[in-house]
Symmetry: C2
Subunit: 233 residues, 2 copies
């Protein structure tokens, strides 16, 4: 029924966490038709009294402790008329990020799956998952979004592992430290990590200077050197 | 009526063009209730057989020659339950960019308005316009999106004027040329502009190396120097 052009509106969340050498995504297994047995993204119907941001938090809270989700942002609208069985549903998808040291409890039907070995996914949820991962990869290059993947404090070696896993390619620890320090994203905590079993010099610990998203490739490069930042819009 | 949770879905477009020293947005004046006389963004109802991308192009084509719109991208979903009168409508908003040298014909009810002096706007279309401008400003710092604001060929002085108008602050022509050249965004055409009325040395003309959006703050900085790009994902 599309009488009067009315359409059901869903929200969906691609919740990503780096575990080991690849990102994992939080999926739950459907236990009824359509797509019985397939794995779906957390989400559900937009309620009458909420906007999509409130709705995705309400639905996510059924699957994971929201306090463990360090960042949530809108990804994109998925609206192919044939993306699911009738009646038509349009979905607003979000990306959520959980730090690597968090291990939130999840319901029995829900599990983390490595994105390079997804189980059979429901509807277009595999495509939406891949779009979420692409968004994360892009934002790692021009924002401080790594704060939402990393523990509160970490060594450069640990951070390099997280970036390499998220990006899917090798990352130089030296370059990573230089780029993120130059951008004011990374600051030393002044402490060191406990030495590993093999001993050696204790590694310095770092933290992200902010734990809210910002673009780090600075507008400042486009400003004249004498420009007073307080005078700009 | 929100029986069964069905909601009308609209698409809206924030079409921006730099004219003079500020961006302008394309608005049309409503000629019936609700919001009679107020100015609205181009858009309309999502059709049964189209996705939001096809829909926004169909609705935009009623107001402006699509061939003049150099770039269109999804902005965000606007879904406040009280953003308009009942029945509820959710909108997927897009940003569209028209180069400064284009002057497409528009219908009698439609006009360009400077974003710093908007007429009374309909519903939440003023907020959506401001969100579209913020998206453009952010992307100027980490993508090649300037290609969609600029003519095919331009002097650095002309490009500086476009960036300053879009960003709303002063921009150094020297820094702009250095940053965009280093990122491989800007290339000389090998020709010069016709001298102005005051004569002087003819200015070199440049063009954007690509006319499709890409992130220019390179992933490469996170790769080890010896990394073979073809071996990365």
């Amino acid at each position: 029924m599309e009488a009067e052009g009315l359409i059901a509106h869903d929200v969906l969340a691609v919740v990503l966490r780096i575990t080991g050498t690849v990102p994992s995504v939080l999926l739950w297994q459907r236990a009824r038709e359509p797509q019985d047995g397939r794995w779906a993204l957390p989400g559900g119907r937009l309620g009458a009294a909420e906007d999509v941001e409130a709705s995705v938090r309400r639905h996510l809270a059924e699957k994971v402790d929201l306090a463990e989700v360090a960042h949530v942002e809108q990804l994109s609208v998925f609206s192919d008329p044939h993306r699911g069985p009738a009646p038509r549903r349009v979905a607003t998808a979000f990306v959520g990020l959980v730090p690597s040291d968090a291990d939130p409890a999840v319901p029995a039907d829900t599990a983390w799956h490595p994105v390079d070995a997804l189980p059979p996914t429901a509807f277009d949820h595999g495509d939406i998952t891949r779009a979420g991962l692409e968004r994360l990869r892009a934002k790692l290059s021009y924002t401080n979004i790594g704060f939402a993947l990393a523990p509160e404090a970490f060594t450069i070696s640990e951070l390099r592992r997280l970036y390499a896993a998220a990006l899917g390619h090798r990352v130089s620890a030296t370059n990573l430290q230089r780029v993120l320090t130059r951008r004011g994203v990374l600051v030393p905590t002044g402490t060191t990590a406990a030495p590993g079993p093999s001993g050696g010099r204790p590694a310095a610990l770092f933290r992200f200077s902010e734990r809210a998203l910002r673009v780090t490739d600075p507008f400042a490069t486009l400003r004249p050197p004498s420009c007073d930042p307080s005078g700009s819009s």
